[in-house]
């Protein structure tokens, strides 16, 4: 199966990079976390819906870990709590936003995320405002890991989460409720005339996407060991959409390809051109949109086909 092969090759490449360049371990862990959130965005994009507020669930996951850490000293339990909290938030918001489409859907998501942003900023006694909350490094399977070993463990854990999430989402997208996402985009009324609730189609995907963003946020919090309201600022939501388009929505590889390329371009561009890295990212996206409308994954497929014709 080519997709599985692509994931296996990608994982190997990432592990190699992380081994050769120790500082990239951290960067790549964050990239994988972003990819998880983007995987959820990609599901919604299939339905033609763009959420400009999904950083909300990243923040819910991350802050859940910050709040729960004093009581919980276990990486896996903390991640489970992060996902659970994001799913609950996704259900509450999703029941409302799944009624709306297009610009209304996008803006309502943005509105919810901005409300949460200002709460995190204003409720200083609870959240310490813009300073954010430090997270004490938790144990993994009862073992307290230090420095590089913790980073390696978290990187490996992120890879495992990505493998599981990608496999499950890929199957979901092949199932009727997943296929119905693009049916919702092309002919929503026909779904209703078949007796299917289009709202439920979107709602289910929305809750899944919230859970994935929560997982990504949880991994981010465990990697940075510090959470701030910037996690839910609108630019972060925009960045998730940016990465989704960069990577492409053709399959579940796209979000991770997009996230890794995005983070690598960002760190290298930021190091080489401290004042111009945002412009460089902008140009990269412009290039993708103009030259490869189906994103990096589409580009990869084209390359594969071209190669196949040559040999």
């Amino acid at each position: 199966m080519p997709l599985r092969l692509a994931f296996a090759v990608g994982f190997l490449a990432l592990a190699l990079l992380a081994a050769l360049q120790p500082w990239l371990r951290f960067v790549l862990t964050l990239a994988l976390a972003t990819g998880l959130a983007v995987l959820g965005i990609m599901m919604l994009l299939r339905a033609g819906q763009v959420s400009f507020g999904h950083a909300l669930y990243v923040a819910v996951g991350a802050y859940t870990i910050a709040f729960a850490r004093p009581q919980l000293d276990d990486v896996l339990l903390l991640l489970a709590a992060a996902v659970l909290a994001a799913v609950v938030a996704g259900i509450l918001v999703g029941l409302f936003v799944s009624r709306y489409r297009d610009i209304f859907f996008g803006m309502l998501n943005l509105a919810f995320s901005m409300v949460v942003y200002s709460l995190l900023e204003k409720l200083y006694w609870l959240t310490r405002g813009t300073d954010g909350i430090r997270v004490a490094r938790p144990r993994l399977f009862g073992v307290a890991l230090e420095g590089a070993r913790y980073e390696w463990a978290l990187f490996a854990l992120a890879l495992v989460c990505v493998a599981i999430a990608a496999a499950l989402v890929a199957r979901y997208l092949r199932a009727p409720a997943g296929e119905a996402l693009s049916a919702l985009k092309t002919r929503e009324t026909r779904l209703e005339f078949a007796g299917v609730s289009a709202r439920r189609v979107l709602f289910q995907a929305y809750v899944v996407s919230a859970g994935l963003a929560g997982l990504g946020g949880g991994i981010t919090a465990l990697a940075t060991l510090h959470v701030t309201p910037l996690l839910v600022y609108w630019t972060h939501s925009g960045e998730l959409v940016f990465v989704a388009i960069l990577g492409g929505t053709a399959n579940v590889l796209g979000p991770f390809l997009g996230a890794v390329v995005f983070e690598l371009v960002r760190v290298h561009a930021a190091a080489a051109f401290p004042d111009a890295w945002q412009m460089i990212l902008g140009l990269v996206l412009l290039g993708i949109v103009l030259l490869a409308a189906r994103g990096l994954v589409g580009l990869l497929e084209e390359l594969g086909r071209w190669w196949g014709r040559r040999v």
Partner: protein, 258 residues
């Protein structure tokens, strides 16, 4: 045929349906019964309100007055989703396909809508579902197009896929809005023959809007003639199609009855 043998109560009863768009009365007191097992054709000029009637029955439009009963149950004002679950499916004058999906997937989505739609990890194209979808497509001569994307089909094929999708919902009452318009004349009759015999075999009641009088004469048990939101005449095709008033209204020309 079957239409002549009156069953105790009709499958569908429309009474006094009224719906006006601005000044246009698209339905102006429609009374119509559809009996169990019959195949009813609706004919009438453009803008007579034929599609509006189907839209009201399927819950897409709500009549301003009147009532619709299906199997004795009031369905006026229910949503399309509720109504299709009660057993009324329809096809569309302008095909409504899922254009990012293949023909087979379009069919499979309809089949899944009836069962197993929410199973999160069972593929849409399971072997059993694909086979059933393919069998339905064969009935419309669409077998070869199974793996073609719906947005790449020509007009006639789009139309037939649209009808096949409605039949995939296995309704008790099937409503079809000009099922063969755009379909090549050479294929039209063969496809209608197969469709109608399948409907009769499966005991499906059907209503179809049609402009081709040959198709009407050949397949309908009964005809209802629409004109300006009213039913001008109804009865067996032989009688109705021979009526000079109907000729004037539907064909727009004076034809001496023969």
């Amino acid at each position: 045929m079957v239409g002549e043998t009156r069953v105790s109560s009709p499958l569908l009863e429309a009474r006094g349906l009224v719906l006006a768009f601005g000044g246009v009365r698209a339905a102006d007191g429609i009374d119509l019964d559809v009996n169990e097992g019959e195949i009813l054709a609706i004919i009438g000029p453009n803008g007579a309100g034929k599609t509006t009637f189907l839209n009201m029955v399927t819950g897409y439009l709500r009549p301003q007055a009147g009532s619709i009963r299906f199997r004795g149950r009031e369905i006026t004002g229910l949503t399309p989703r509720r109504i299709v679950r009660l057993g009324i499916a329809r096809s569309f004058q302008i095909p409504q396909l899922f254009t990012e999906h293949t023909v087979l997937e379009n069919l499979a989505l309809q089949l899944a809508a009836r069962e197993g739609f929410w199973a999160p990890f069972a593929p849409l194209l399971s072997r059993a579902r694909s086979e059933r979808a393919l069998a339905l497509l064969e009935r419309f001569g669409l077998g070869e197009l199974a793996s073609v994307r719906a947005d790449a089909l020509d007009e006639g094929a789009r139309k037939l896929v649209d009808v096949a999708m409605a039949t995939a919902l296995a309704p008790r009452l099937l409503l079809m809005d000009e099922p063969t318009s755009g379909v090549a004349a050479s294929e039209k009759h063969a496809i209608m023959d197969r469709l109608v015999s399948a409907l009769r075999r499966e005991g499906v009641t059907a209503v179809f809007v049609e402009h081709d009088m040959e198709v009407v004469a050949r397949h309908a048990d009964r005809v209802a003639v629409w004109s300006n939101g009213k039913i001008l005449a109804q009865g067996p095709p032989a009688t109705v199609l021979a009526d000079p008033a109907v000729h004037r209204e539907v064909l727009g020309v004076e034809v001496a009855p023969c």
